[in-house]
């Protein structure tokens, strides 16, 4: 089954490509990217006219909570991956804090099997660092790697024991996978529920100081330097964290990092509404931190945008702010939020954003994809940059805990191709000028 995507503006930062070209996918892999590809009609199962659209390597999310196994009332692999393709993602990395956690091969195999059965996109499992995510003893990391895990993380909580972190980093140098660090000093966080600053004082809500993250980022870049291992800092949210990464990288330390769309688009002042869809960990920070994240994106200290898609059931969020679980969904809004916050605002070019959302993630986790070179996975996303839309309170995700509902954004994925198969197609919903199409 072959697919020809014609007349789109093809942007592929992995080969510094930005031109009107056709993309031919044969047998699930990229066959050619070229001007006016003439393929024999009988070999083409489907043609997509991408005139007016941008064609990019499929987006890859390094940080997704699919909740299966164990919390299927929040999300499943089926619904989470449908949310992913609707957001232009062709692959997601599934975090390990499921029930039971992905700390042994059987769970990894279950996730992979269910993804193949019912998933709409590729799913790369992340294994646990420690058994039961308890932060005490290493999980069977080599077995997890062999089963298909592309990294390990106790995400949701920090690896508090520095010796355990050191050993995990050392062990993973043998496996060639990164340790993904949720950076938080729980004593400094002290039960806080939002960023510590003027607004936590105003609202009387417990504060999570920036130092809570900054202290652990500093520790882990030191451990990465000492071990030569690759540490990847998850959902970086602080100015001090960006500084640590920048300096460590300059000194040759193998440290990479991601930021979320919400940490660059929203600030702690928004928590004045007491909406529980503004509660996540790390919390929305103050303007100075937000500016530092954006500066870190501009100077390429930050390698990737990752959603930290964290679905929760309506009932779980429909409670007092202190009682609500941390986390918001993000897969279906990530591109638009970043396009407005970073590209339309003039901070970076579109090619840089595609690098952050596709090529960068593939590069740092050593994943297939993130490129349209011949022979690469036939994973492609089509974007409509002219689209202007209000985020509806209706998601493909099972959850709807998004702070962006009702907000207006520009630019959205309109078709998502995974391995040559169209897994999401909203082109028919595009207004006006394309009315003549079938």
């Amino acid at each position: 089954m072959n697919l020809l995507i014609t007349n789109g503006r093809v942007i592929d930062p992995s080969q510094e490509l930005d031109a009107t070209l056709d993309v031919l996918i044969e047998d699930g892999v990229i066959a050619r990217v070229d001007k006016r590809i003439k393929a024999r009609a009988e070999t083409i199962a489907e043609t997509i006219d991408a005139a007016g659209l941008v064609v990019v390597p499929g987006l890859i999310d390094l940080h997704t909570h699919l909740r299966e196994p164990g919390q299927e009332h929040k999300e499943t692999i089926a619904t989470g991956t449908r949310a992913a393709v609707a957001g232009g993602y062709t692959a997601v990395c599934a975090m390990a804090n499921t029930l039971p956690p992905n700390d042994e091969r059987a769970v990894t195999e279950m996730i992979i099997a269910e993804s193949r059965r019912n998933g709409a996109c590729r799913v790369y499992p992340i294994g646990a660092v420690s058994k039961g995510l308890m932060g005490e003893a290493l999980a069977e990391l080599a077995d997890l790697r062999a089963a298909g895990c592309v990294g390990v993380s106790d995400d949701g909580r920090p690896v508090w024991n520095a010796q355990l972190m050191r050993r995990a980093l050392e062990y993973c140098t043998m496996l060639g996978i990164p340790v993904i660090a949720h950076e938080e000093d729980a004593n400094l966080s002290d039960g806080g529920v939002m960023h510590e600053g003027y607004f936590s004082t105003l609202l009387g809500l417990g504060g999570i100081p920036a130092a809570s993250e900054e202290a652990l980022v500093a520790r882990d870049v030191i451990l990465a330097r000492a071990t030569g291992a690759h540490v990847h800092i998850a959902h970086l949210s602080t100015a001090g964290g960006v500084d640590s990464v920048r300096h460590a990288r300059a000194a040759g330390v193998r440290v990479t990092c991601e930021v979320t769309p919400h940490h660059i688009a929203l600030g702690d002042e928004s928590v004045q509404s007491f909406s529980t869809n503004l509660k996540m960990n790390p919390p929305l920070r103050s303007a100075e931190h937000r500016q530092a994240l954006i500066a870190g994106i501009a100077d390429r200290t930050i390698d990737a945008i990752a959603t930290d898609h964290a679905p929760h059931h309506f009932d779980e969020k429909n409670v007092e702010f202190d009682l609500a679980p941390f986390g918001i969904i993000g897969l279906e809004t990530a591109f638009a939020v970043c396009y407005d916050t970073l590209v339309r605002s003039g901070v970076i070019g579109l090619d840089h954003l595609i690098d952050l959302m596709s090529c960068g993630p593939a590069r740092i986790f050593n994943l297939p994809g993130g490129t349209l070179r011949s022979g690469a996975l036939g994973d492609v996303t089509l974007l409509d940059l002219d689209a202007k839309f209000i985020v509806p309170n209706a998601f493909r995700s099972k959850a709807s805990n998004s702070p962006f509902v009702g907000k207006t954004f520009h630019g959205r994925p309109v078709a998502t191709v995974v391995g040559g198969a169209v897994r999401y197609d909203a082109r028919a919903a595009r207004p006006a000028k394309r009315k003549g199409k079938k």
């Binding site: 510590e196 600053g197 003027y198 936590s200 004082t201 105003l202 609202l203 009387g204 809500l205 504060g207 100081p209 007491f274 009932d315 429909n318 409670v319 007092e320 702010f321 202190d322 009682l323």
Partner: protein, 316 residues
Amino acid sequence: MRASTSSLRSKDLLGIEHLLPEEIELILDTAEGFKEVSERPVKKVPALRGQLIINLFMEASTRTRVSFEIAEKRLSADTLNFTASGSSVEKGETLIDTAENLVAMHPEMIVIRHKYPGAPKMLADRLPNVSIINAGDGSHEHPTQALLDAFTIRERLGQLAGVNVSIIGDIAHSRVVRSNIHLLTKMKANVTVAAPPTLLPAEIGKMGVRVVHSLDEAVAGADVIMMLRIQLERQGKLSFPSLREYYNTFGLTPERLKRASSEAIIMHPGPMNRGVEIASDVADDPKRSVILEQVTNGVAVRMAVLYLLGGAHDGE
């Protein structure tokens, strides 16, 4: 020349932060009239006859709950007291479900005390036909306390503008201090807060107050000295080393009070810890302590708030 108003803009009283100065004036002026009602032989007016007010107290309270209940009865409202213990809250019912079930019985107002910030706003946002009155939400706001404090200051000192108010104690965990800062700065009083740095919340200075770490500095030049309760369970942990050391550094004693103006009044929202934040000689000083006047005025101020919000339900 100040603007004046004859009604409140919102159906709810969730805090002082979003009140206009003229709304604060309106509540205080209205309370003056109601104070007289409490001095009559028959301490009752028919203003809220036929209105049902539910006192939803999800956290322990003596003063505030009793004060609201007396205010409601003096306005002839029907009152119902609901506490978390012995209710379906203990069976795991959520706040929203509890409130919606109560609202199904058609109250006009709900007075809520809750340990978590934002709980009153959560109800106000979801219950369009009921007035929600915040009787204290976590460390966020306690608007009627600030109003009764302002009423007491105004009654004693004649005005709020230009008055020097020093608030001393656990600023970090106090809803009283937040509401008071909003109110006093809106009314052009000068506010100083004093505490060890471990009992001050982040960036408190941005709320428009002077911040000091010395009791002596705080009382010097103060017209009003407001002491806050120290929660005994915080001693010996990370907020301060011991009650002994706290008393020695921030406890208000007769000796340290000598630095204040001889006219300065002493306030405390209660409950007091005698010998911790305040010496009995100071708390009971008949010339300077207005602590029990605050309690008396609390009823009048709450009557004013209930009356002004109750007007929203006229004709229903």
